[in-house]
Symmetry: none
Subunit: 298 residues, 2 copies
């Protein structure tokens, strides 16, 4: 990434921190960083992509600092873990990451959502592995559950502590309180031998080669789901339902989906009236086109 681009990222991040993601327009970013629209879209294909760049940079930095805390230290020392969590919280606060996450999670941008979700899962995984360091193999079956619940209770403790005391200080106090709950949690789970989610599940959550495919699946399913709902009050709905089902099946289950059949089905579907319908039909068609484009490249 060149200096100029880096500069835009920095300026945009500042604007996002000050005004929020949604409230910052592209024009704001252009003015604030002194570039033209053309250059912006040369760098990033959208505001979302710029956001991803910001997240990536911030998280790379966090990870680096986080690992530095471990250098030459005892991995089983829970005090180091506490310091790492505090670091993470401070980074979050400094960069308004939580707020930006939330904003972004609702921005109708599936790619961006995917990115954030993956980030969260990575974070859970990091905590899980640190807990494995600290509590040892014997507690392993309970540590994914513990990691998940720890993140949940920590987040809300921070949130409401902040509301109650209206201060950013004393975060350390909240972290220590929450970690004590975590320790108790692990002990109790081991004692009663209760497990909600197996740590092995983590492996299937990690990004792998099938990920883009899964994303496509999700998008397709979502699109078709919505269109089915729209059909509810339309005559001949069953015919169109069948067409939609056929497209989904042919694309997801068939080894070599028959392009001509799917295109014909799409055309028949286009005949349905209504502007809402039309607005939903288009992305479906785009999905199909993209599907066959990448299919040809293989």
């Amino acid at each position: 990434m060149n200096d100029r681009k880096q500069h835009v990222v920095k300026m945009a991040h500042q604007l996002f921190i000050d005004k929020g993601f949604q409230a910052t327009s592209i024009q704001d970013i252009l003015d604030y960083s002194g570039i033209s629209k053309g250059t912006f879209y040369n760098y990033f294909s959208s505001k979302s992509e710029l956001m991803i760049a910001i997240f990536k940079m911030t998280y790379a930095d966090l990870e680096k600092q986080r690992n530095e805390l471990l250098i030459g230290q005892d991995r089983t020392d829970i005090e180091i873990f506490i310091k790492q969590i505090e670091l993470q919280l401070k980074t979050n606060r400094k960069n308004k990451l939580i707020t930006l996450f939330e904003e972004v999670l609702v921005s109708n941008d599936i790619d961006l959502k995917q990115f954030i979700d993956q980030g969260r899962i990575n974070n859970i995984r990091w905590i899980y592995e640190r807990l494995l360091d600290i509590f040892g193999e014997t507690k392993k079956p309970y540590l994914l559950d513990s990691a998940i619940m720890f993140m949940g209770l920590l987040r809300d403790n921070i949130k409401f502590f902040h509301i109650a005391h209206d201060t950013n200080a004393n975060i350390g106090h909240v972290v220590r309180y929450s970690v004590r709950r975590l320790v108790n949690l692990v002990d109790e789970l081991a004692e009663t031998d209760e497990q909600l989610i197996q740590p092995e599940q983590l492996e299937s959550w990690i990004p792998d080669c099938r990920k883009p495919d899964q994303l496509f699946q999700k998008k397709l399913h979502h699109s078709i789901y919505i269109m089915k709902n729209l059909l509810r009050h339309i005559e001949e709905q069953s015919k169109y339902m069948e067409l939609l089902d056929f497209i989904e099946e042919e694309l997801l289950d068939s080894k070599s989906p028959r392009k001509f059949l799917i295109e014909s089905a799409l055309l028949s579907l286009k005949a349905v009236d209504g502007s809402v319908w039309e607005k939903e039909w288009e992305p479906l068609e785009k999905l199909v086109v993209d599907f066959f484009k990448t299919e040809d490249e293989k």
Copy 2:
């Protein structure tokens, strides 16, 4: 709210559930519910206001169902609490409330944010009070912390359980697992005598300093409800109904209720005949007087 308006709310809610709040344009709502733009803006001043209407309706319904579960039951029975939590989760899922909350929290609409935040705090308070029923006064100092952490860990348990098993079923299993953690949490906090946030804090969260407190709201609503019933067999009832509605709305929803208008409305209402009526009119007037007295003190 008249039938037509109700119909619009219903159709819009469906669209929000299917496509999300942001992704649904006003035009979509117009098409789907078959009204014109003029009518829409006659009903609601914005999409946000429509959203508030949806939230209010859904939550009123949830609260009703939730209380019905308690009728004739033992408040200390944790099984009832579990049923109530499950009900809440099901309502959330059915109405995509979590998603809509998140969407709305970033919509640059202060009133809407305020509304949602208050709703969350109310929820915490409700849980706190139920925990007080279940665990008793002796555990009181730890129950607000417990309520907060319970909400946090429950939410994430549900979320990741859903990711892991890709199913909406077995919510009950997750709830029970989480409630067992809650019980252990309360015990442990009492044993080690640790406290993060004092339950007394709740009181300061409830009244948004500009809005009347809940007790006042309840009293007002009750008083107006009774008076409306009395009006049933009286001529010009609709005029008086409107006056009553106006008073309630102006006192509860307006940032700076117009004293002169409310007093004038009260005077008009006094004109209704009947000794029973008079007996109900007086407490209402007292409520209003008290309201403006405390308002002036601020």
